[in-house]
């Protein structure tokens, strides 16, 4: 909440002619409705449906109707809320809320197509990455304070995996930033097609690394060891029920929208050219790739994930960065 | 055991519609091969020669243990012996037939005695050796150290029939819950379960149905 207030002060000065009241209403609308809270939560749930539908079709199933993710969340809100005996009730109650706040805040920095981000400044890319990292730490705390052995194993795994994918993910985004010569998401976005034929190779390397690391960030197969159902039930989330689980679920979907949106903005040409529509199309495209990846492999053990990340993905992403520096010349 | 083992059965495999380069083998070339073995055609009704021969060899291997043949059927040999010799028998047989496979141990209450039957496989023949135990205090030596698989079967028999296996350091319940009442063995003839309540754990588990 504190973060959002500060942001208000920042954006409040954009249009002094309208008078103070109008600006506040305008900003509140931006933060709470579009392109802020309501938009990102719904986009997240929509992408969940896209993901589930594609996954189902790839598995020769019919898949859920489009409104299923909304129903799931509504149902969770109406379910019984249990705090297990061994859990820390303060952490247990507030962490899910923080989780959602952090991911929604991260999205405020992400431009939705031509529609500028609620809060945009040079270096906002770093802030988004920082907030996404914070989300992972919250996931760790969720598990650690839930008082369940499954939660603890899952929490430790989440942090272990964080060490594996974080560096390649940052490196891949950094490659894009280097090519565009800016830390501002909207500038990188505007310049995705600059130097078009020359940079394609580097773009593709960075995109591949970003997609794989994003899959790890979002704890999806094959990198779902922290939440591996058949091993540790639901990992950090095992003990959560009802409202709290609904908050976590919304936060996870938002995190997905942030990650997918970030990759779309930074790597794909459509958001800058086709506006909001292009943004949504791009997120669907990125989700599609992530779904296909999820459907075609088995889960890695956590040790294997680390090895894979450090042995193969990291050198690959470093290569991308070096190439970026060279081609920028 | 060579990779071409399946190929040698080419015509047969073809007849089944599996190409002889079927994926069972060829798709995993770098691993040791899957080795199929042909069951050669129609079975001829066996005379009991092999079983009689095996019986003779078992008897010869275990002199002085009181083994007695009850009957011989196709691929089945039924024997009985005094319960005190069971360990001696199994360690002897395991020495001669290292691939001895203990299928299970059956226990039953005949009303006048507790019978324990060891079913094990020697040379594809199921040998069943019957021990007759005192119903008041059924006890027999454990064979769990000779045949590790016996552990589960012994625990099961202890649970349901109250057969004690001496030589084990403990006989934790296998199939019955931890709070099952002591001394109530559901497969004894005297245990009339069914309609009656056998009591609940937290009240101390009194077996009201013991007749």
């Amino acid at each position: 909440m504190l973060l959002e207030k500060r942001r208000l002060a920042f954006t409040g000065s954009t249009d002094p002619e309208n008078g103070f009241d109008m600006t506040v209403i305008n900003d509140l609308f931006k933060i709470l409705v579009f392109p802020g809270f309501l938009f990102v939560v719904n986009l997240g749930l929509f992408l969940e449906w896209v993901d589930r539908k594609i996954y189902a079709r790839l598995q020769n199933r019919i898949g859920p109707p489009w409104y299923q993710p909304w129903l799931d969340v509504l149902k969770l809100f109406s379910k019984e809320d249990v705090i297990p005996e061994g859990a820390s009730s303060f952490m247990f109650t507030w962490l899910p809320v923080f989780y959602l706040a952090v991911t929604v805040t991260a999205f405020l920095c992400i431009p939705v197509g031509a529609y500028a981000a609620v809060y945009s400044f040079p270096g906002d890319l770093i802030v988004v990455l920082f907030l996404l990292t914070l989300a992972t730490i919250i996931l760790f705390l969720l598990g650690w304070y839930s008082g369940s052995p499954f939660g603890r194993v899952g929490a430790v795994r989440a942090v272990t995996q964080f060490l594996a994918y974080e560096v390649p993910l940052v490196a891949a985004l950094l490659t894009q930033a280097l090519l565009a010569d800016s830390w501002s998401i909207s500038l990188v976005m505007a310049r995705t097609t600059v130097g078009f034929p020359r940079f394609v190779g580097v773009h593709l390397i960075a995109l591949a690394v970003a997609l794989i690391s994003l899959q790890g960030k979002l704890l999806r197969v094959p990198f779902d060891a922290p939440e591996a159902e058949t091993e540790i039930v639901a990992g950090p989330l095992t003990e959560y029920t009802g409202r709290r689980l609904a908050f976590i679920r919304l936060a996870e979907r938002t995190e997905m929208a942030v990650g997918v949106g970030l990759v779309s903005d930074l790597f794909l040409p459509f958001p800058a050219r086709l506006g909001v529509f292009g943004f949504v199309i791009s997120t669907i495209l990125v989700t599609f790739v992530l779904s296909v990846l999820r459907a075609s492999v088995a889960r890695f053990r956590i040790e294997d994930t680390t090895v894979l990340a450090w042995k193969y993905i990291l050198p690959f992403s470093a290569l991308g960065m070096v190439l970026a520096i060279i081609v920028r010349g | 055991m060579s990779t071409c083992n399946e190929r040698t059965q080419g015509p047969e495999s073809q007849a089944t519609g599996f190409p002889s380069a079927g994926p069972t083998i060829s798709s995993v070339p770098e691993r040791s091969p899957v080795v199929p073995e042909t069951n050669s055609g129609p079975d001829h009704k066996p005379a009991l020669g092999a079983e009689e021969d095996l019986t003779r060899r078992v008897m010869d291997a275990c002199p002085g243990l009181g083994l007695a043949v009850e009957r011989i059927r196709p691929r089945r040999i039924w024997m009985s012996m005094p319960s005190r010799n069971v360990r001696a028998m199994f360690s002897t047989l395991k020495g001669i037939w290292p691939d001895l496979h203990l299928s299970t141990i059956t226990g039953l209450d005949t009303g006048s005695a507790i019978e324990v039957i060891y079913h094990f496989v020697l040379e594809k023949t199921l040998v069943s050796v019957r021990l007759t135990l005192d119903p008041e205090y059924p006890e027999v030596d454990t064979v769990g150290d000779i045949l590790p698989v016996a552990d589960a079967y012994e625990r099961e028999l202890h649970d349901v029939l109250g057969v004690r296996f001496s030589g084990r350091h403990s006989t934790p319940p296998l199939v019955l819950p931890d709070n099952w009442p002591e001394g109530y063995y559901p497969l004894r003839k005297s245990a009339k379960g069914g309609e009656k309540d056998v009591g609940h754990g937290d009240t101390g588990g009194t077996a009201t149905s013991r007749a």
Binding site: Q59, E85, A298 | V160, V175, V198
Partner: protein, 386 residues
């Protein structure tokens, strides 16, 4: 992370039936495992003693939802042995046919679950979709998808019509193609393969000493198959291969099961081509003469053994069932030592455990599992409250 205890079961997503495994962990490494059975006891052995011979067949059918035909065949064979009944040739062929269909659907079920345990849900969905082919065929023949009710003492209850035979042939065509496809994706998809290779390994000597049976034993190179070693039903007249592998890990188990699906298809074809005419059952007496018999059956999971004793009445005097999972659990406990948490589910699933089969013995009132479970959870929360 220091020592920690992880309960897998009685309720856990990796287990399709309630059973309790408690793992002592050191970090992600398993130090020891404590297996506790008994959560799905229904007291079938004891209950059989209160039922007539024919009623007992139906009860035995319900020992297990997957290998129901295995148990009834095994039981009926024992009773037929005691009563000296000669089962007609056609009935024996039909028994074998249903037995092989059951093996195929059981192995496909296993393949899907194995995929699910290692997070490869696509394989799970595909394998189970094609399992429907065989379930539909079973339904067409027997009227039921799982508890077929085909067996009776003295033969089988339903004959195979020409239409059934045709339907079966078309099902076989689909399955043949699919079996090849699964062998490809299951054994070549590198992430899936990576999760199976070298995991849950037992040596041949261990497999023998621990008394493992069926595919678990064959995967370790133990060449046993009761269809060949102790032929029952029509197997003495049917040519087929026994599939074995040597590595003793889960990949070998997958190879063996996939190979067996193909052998089963082959056996089914042979049976359909060579189905003899004649009656499908002989009349069984209401009272079975006194005697005892022991019958063995190669269930999809391995050796199923029934001991039956009659005292001459219309009810069995004693029925003893030893399902293959009990024999194979020893191998699970053995191969668990030193593995990582990630491999726990697939190792348990590796033997294709069927706990309903394993827990069948005594009649329990409703007094047990619920209460025990509650205690466990109290145990747990006490332990982790700090």
């Amino acid at each position: 992370m220091s020592d920690m205890e992880i309960p897998v079961g009685p309720q856990h997503p990796a287990l399709k039936e309630p059973e309790s495994f408690r793992f002592e962990l050191e970090g992600e490494i398993v130090k020891s495992v404590d297996i506790r059975l008994g959560y799905v006891h229904r007291g079938i052995e004891r209950a059989c003693q209160d039922r007539t011979w024919i009623q007992a067949v139906y009860l035995i059918e319900r020992i297990c939802g997957i290998c129901s035909h295995s148990h009834t065949t095994c039981f009926c064979q024992a009773v037929e042995d005691i009563a000296g009944l000669e089962v007609p040739r056609r009935a024996r062929y039909i028994r074998s046919l249903i037995g092989e269909m059951e093996r195929i659907h059981s192995h496909l079920l296993w393949l899907g679950l194995a995929g699910h345990e290692v997070g490869f849900d696509t394989l799970f969905m595909y394998a189970w979709r094609d399992r429907e082919v065989i379930l539909d065929a079973l339904e067409a023949i027997s009227g039921n998808r799982v508890n077929y009710g085909m067996n009776t003492i003295g033969g089988v209850r339903r004959d195979l019509s020409d239409r059934d035979v045709e339907e079966l042939r078309s099902a076989i065509r689909i399955l043949e193609e699919r079996a090849g496809y699964y062998t490809d994706i299951a054994l070549e998809e590198s992430t899936f393969r990576g999760r199976l290779e070298g995991v849950g390994k037992i040596t041949k000597q261990q497999a023998i000493d621990l008394g493992t049976v069926g595919p678990t034993a064959r995967a370790a190179g133990v060449n046993v198959d009761l269809r060949r070693d102790d032929p029952y039903a029509a197997y003495g007249e049917i040519p087929f291969n026994v599939v074995t592998a040597e590595d003793g890990d889960l990949l070998a188990a997958a190879q063996v099961r996939l190979g067996e699906i193909r052998e089963s298809i082959r056996i089914m074809k042979y049976i359909l081509d060579n189905l003899p005419d004649g009656p499908i059952a002989v009349k069984a007496p209401r009272r079975i003469p006194p005697g005892e018999a022991c019958s063995r059956y190669e269930a999809p999971r391995g050796e199923d053994i029934h001991y039956v004793r009659s005292s001459g009445g219309d009810k069995p005097d004693r029925v003893k069932v030893r399902a293959p999972t009990l024999a194979n659990l020893n191998a699970v406990a053995e191969s668990m030592k030193g593995v990582r948490v990630a491999d726990i589910p697939i190792i348990i699933a590796g033997i294709d455990p069927c706990f309903s089969c394993t827990d069948r013995l005594v009649r329990l009132q409703d007094r047990t599992s619920g209460r025990v479970e509650v205690l466990r959870w109290q145990d747990l929360s006490r332990r982790y409250r700090r």
